[in-house]
């Protein structure tokens, strides 16, 4: 039995896994203590649960539990990594390198630092969305403090060569931060093998609860940060504020489950995603897959349907919960800056839709989605004068649109 709307927006957030919820339950009521209460069993019990979860999260990236700092989510982790590092080392180095396709919060944190006197280089990507490693290496200067490159892009699913980037950064003696909100729990990550100094992760992207994430912060060689939040000195003084026990417990369990089933889940998502993609491309002309064909997370398919407004297609396929880009910016009608960075023309960028596949996606859902999209695209194109002109062989770019 299909349940509508069919959820195909796994990059935006994921439903909580029932096993995760089960684990969290006792910590709302019976084991409700403040983990920082050091004077009674309720506090100790909550404190122990947090340390156990810290180990579960650390295990998945081969880190030491002491290197995991819990935050309210990946946005906070990215802010803490970039601004915290910059503020700590501001008297020594003032240059930061990042990439044009990063998550908005990374770019925004960098822009904020520019106002504080930092210089930021925003590297371009090729038409597949990949970073040029030679360009990266040549962009590193004497005063470069940090390179921040995300592992998996949230809009197009492209996977950057994190291990190579880590190698370059280590060789050049600059810190390497990766926003792994979309990668943690989905592809193997190893902070030592990949020479990662800081990594941002989020629970609600891996079937854990919202409102909890973490920043991995390397201890050897030590990375030092200025906190964003001062106070009681929780999380080794790097992040003050009561650590929310039930959310952390859920985060730990979600990480454990993701680690257990990673390969299996990858295969099943890839199979569904391939079937969906082939089904669309084979039966609908003028559809383009954005981003690299191979170096990608298969659970994220960003497709451009030429001659159709993305927004009108979304309305036409209301039974599918999809997005026309990142959720954080989807309220605006601007075409995605990520697609623009890949060189996707504005017209085509407006026609793009992101389809997400995840743990709970089924073959039945994919089949239904395929049929619905085929039907809707056909209908919308039948109504589109642009499509008609294109069929008649008119090059749309040659048309001089008159101003109103």
């Amino acid at each position: 039995m299909l349940k509508f709307p069919i959820y195909m927006d796994y990059q935006s957030t994921t439903p909580i896994d029932p096993r995760v919820l089960d684990e969290m339950l006792p910590y709302f009521t019976e084991k409700f203590g403040n983990p920082h209460s050091r004077s009674h069993s309720f506090g100790w019990e909550a404190g122990d649960a947090i340390e156990f979860a810290r180990g579960q999260v650390a295990d998945l990236i081969s880190a030491n539990p002491k290197e995991i700092i819990f935050t309210s989510g990946a946005t906070e982790a990215n802010n803490l990594a970039i601004k915290g590092l910059a503020h700590f080392y501001k008297s020594e180095k003032k240059h930061i390198i990042t990439v044009k396709t990063e998550h908005k919060c990374v770019l925004d944190a960098c822009r904020h630092l520019e106002q504080d006197g930092f210089e930021v280089t925003y590297l371009p990507v090729d038409t597949c969305g990949l970073l040029d490693l030679n360009l990266l290496e040549n962009s590193i200067r004497e005063d470069t403090l940090l390179v921040s490159v995300m592992a998996i892009n949230n809009e197009v699913g492209v996977i950057q060569p994190i291990k190579d980037i880590g190698g370059i950064c280590r060789r050049k003696g600059v810190f390497f931060h990766t926003d792994a909100a979309q990668a943690f729990g989905k592809i193997p990550l190893d902070v030592d093998a990949m020479n990662i100094d800081m990594m941002s992760i989020s629970a609600h992207k891996i079937y854990g609860p919202k409102g909890i994430g973490a920043l991995y912060v390397r201890r050897k060689p030590r990375v030092r940060l200025e906190p964003l939040m001062n106070g009681g000195g929780q999380e080794r003084g790097i992040r003050s504020g009561t650590v929310p026990t039930p959310l952390v417990v859920g985060f730990g369990k979600a990480a454990e489950i993701a680690g257990m089933n990673m390969q299996e889940e990858y295969e099943s998502i890839k199979r569904l995603s391939n079937k969906f993609c082939a089904g669309i491309v084979d039966s609908i002309p003028d559809v383009y897959l954005n981003g690299h064909k191979e170096a990608r997370w298969p659970g994220c398919l960003n497709l451009s349907f030429a001659y159709i407004e993305g927004e009108s297609l979304i309305l036409a396929i209301k039974n599918l919960a999809v997005s026309s880009g990142s959720a954080c910016t989807s309220a605006s009608l601007e075409p995605s800056y990520v697609l623009r960075a890949l060189g996707v023309e504005e017209e085509l960028a407006h026609t793009s839709i992101r389809f997400g596949f995840g743990r709970f996606s089924t073959e039945e859902e994919v089949d239904y989605a395929l049929e619905l999209i085929k039907k809707s695209v056909g209908k919308l194109r039948d109504m589109s004068p642009l499509w008609e002109m294109a069929q008649e062989g008119i090059d749309l770019k040659s048309i001089q649109w008159s101003d109103h």
């Binding site: 709307p5 959820y7 927006d9 796994y10 935006s12 957030t13 994921t14 439903p15 909580i16 919820l21 709302f28 009521t29 409700f32 203590g33 403040n34 920082h36 209460s37 050091r38 004077s39 009674h40 069993s41 309720f42 506090g43 309210s72 989510g73 946005t75 906070e76 990215n78 802010n79 601004k83 998550h103 908005k104 919060c105 925004d108 944190a109 609860p209 919202k210 409102g211 909890i212 939040m229 001062n230 106070g231 009681g232 000195g233 929780q234 999380e235 003050s240 504020g241 009561t242 929310p244 039930p246 959310l247 979304i314 209301k318 919960a321 997005s323 959720a327 954080c328 910016t329 309220a331």
Partner: protein, 387 residues
């Protein structure tokens, strides 16, 4: 039987709230998504915002409610945005306020009376001597988290406003325990938190007058109208709103809690009249009692109470793992020895008279065995010294 008497640290999520949360928590809901689930999530967040505004009798024209992840984040957000102000604080504030005050170029610590209340006459004088300073920010908790002392916020706000300052009040402990009208109190900015009132941990809020500008500490998406980036903690925020809706009844129940607290204090005073109860001379939260057991250090007390099944604390739940002497009591009492023997007992609406009676018995037993022994030992030491 374990008796929980540390409600100022945190309280369990209320069962009614939890039931509502479980009805919806399995939905993949990101309020920024444009589809059905996204709109649903947005509805939950906006519903909670409305519940808070209704409870505090404020409207969206005059005030903003911004959701954050904790009281600590709210306090940091407010203070760090206003770092170019002269800051005026009592030394009894929560660590999140005091650690932020370290970042200000100009900080003045407000003088307190013997109950830990801001001395109003001296406040007037301070206002006069800082008349020439244009930007003055006061950060004064409505109720202290350790002693429960309730400040005369309305009078304080009047004095501050008369002289061109603005007032932030950390209301994390007061919100949900006593009833008040935010507009009537006249504060310009306030901090409230979900897990102290029976909502989930991980949600809190900043309430501010709409004309006050704050800079975000988290940059990124346009959530919370650009004030606070990051996917909203939808279900914790929803639980916060649902807990707020229950507050009128809860606050009513705190009247009984006050009776229970008074019964506790009277019973202990009848055992040992030398007990010191901090801030007993002023209005306090109905559930809080910060009191000494003469001759018995707080570390010894909390350990022994824990062994007997009573959860109390020796101040605020801190992080370092080291049990330190209270900075609040130091600010009120100075280097007074009694404060080393003080513990905080904070009651909740579920505590029963039987539980309090059992605590009184345990207290008596501990005092008679430990306190008296200490007294005798001190006398012997004195005698030896005089020989």
């Amino acid at each position: 039987m374990i008796v929980y008497l540390d409600h100022n640290a945190t309280i369990p999520v209320s069962v009614e709230v939890l039931e509502k949360v479980f009805d919806v928590i399995t939905k993949p809901a990101n309020p920024s998504s444009i589809h059905n689930y996204g709109r649903f999530a947005k509805g939950l967040v906006e519903g909670a915002r409305k519940a808070i505004m209704n409870h505090l009798h404020i409207d969206a024209f005059e005030y903003d409610v911004i959701f954050t992840s904790s009281g600590t984040e709210s306090n940091n957000h407010i203070l760090k945005s206003l770092k170019d102000y002269h800051l005026f604080v009592p030394a009894t504030e929560h660590a999140s306020i005091l650690r932020c005050s370290d970042l200000f170029e100009n900080v003045v610590f407000l003088e307190l009376d013997e109950n830990g209340l801001v001395d109003l006459e001296k406040l007037e004088k301070i206002m006069m001597s800082f008349e020439g300073v244009e930007k003055k920010l006061f950060s004064i908790a409505y109720a202290n988290n350790e002693t429960g002392a309730i400040q005369n916020i309305k009078v304080i706000a009047d004095i501050i406003h008369k002289n061109g300052g603005i007032l932030h009040s950390d209301m994390v402990q007061a919100f949900g325990r006593i009833s008040f009208d935010l507009k009537d109190l006249g504060v310009d900015l306030a901090t409230i938190s979900s897990h102290k009132i029976g909502g989930m941990q991980g949600a809190a809020a900043i309430i501010k007058k709409a004309n006050i500008k704050l800079d975000p500490i988290l940059h990124g998406g346009q959530q919370e109208r650009g004030f606070r980036a990051g996917t909203e903690n939808v279900y914790a925020i929803f639980s916060f709103g649902e807990a707020v809706k229950l507050l009128p009844a809860v606050i009513n129940n705190y009247r009984d809690v006050a009776k229970l607290r008074d019964y506790l204090e009277e019973s202990l005073l009848s055992v040992e009249p030398e007990i010191k109860i901090y801030s007993a001379g002023c209005k306090r939260l109905p559930n809080t009692s910060y009191l000494t057991m003469p001759g018995v250090p707080h570390q010894t007390q909390v350990m022994n109470f824990d062994l007997k099944g009573f959860c109390v604390s020796s101040g605020s739940a801190c992080s370092s793992g080291v049990v330190k002497d209270s900075h609040v009591l130091e600010a009120i009492e100075g280097e007074d020895e009694d404060r080393k023997n003080a513990i905080r007992v904070s009651l909740g609406i579920d505590n029963t008279k039987e539980q309090i009676q059992a605590f009184i018995e345990a207290w008596k037993g501990m005092y008679l065995s430990l306190g008296k022994v200490r007294e005798i030992a001190d006398e012997v030491k004195l005698k030896v010294a005089n020989l």
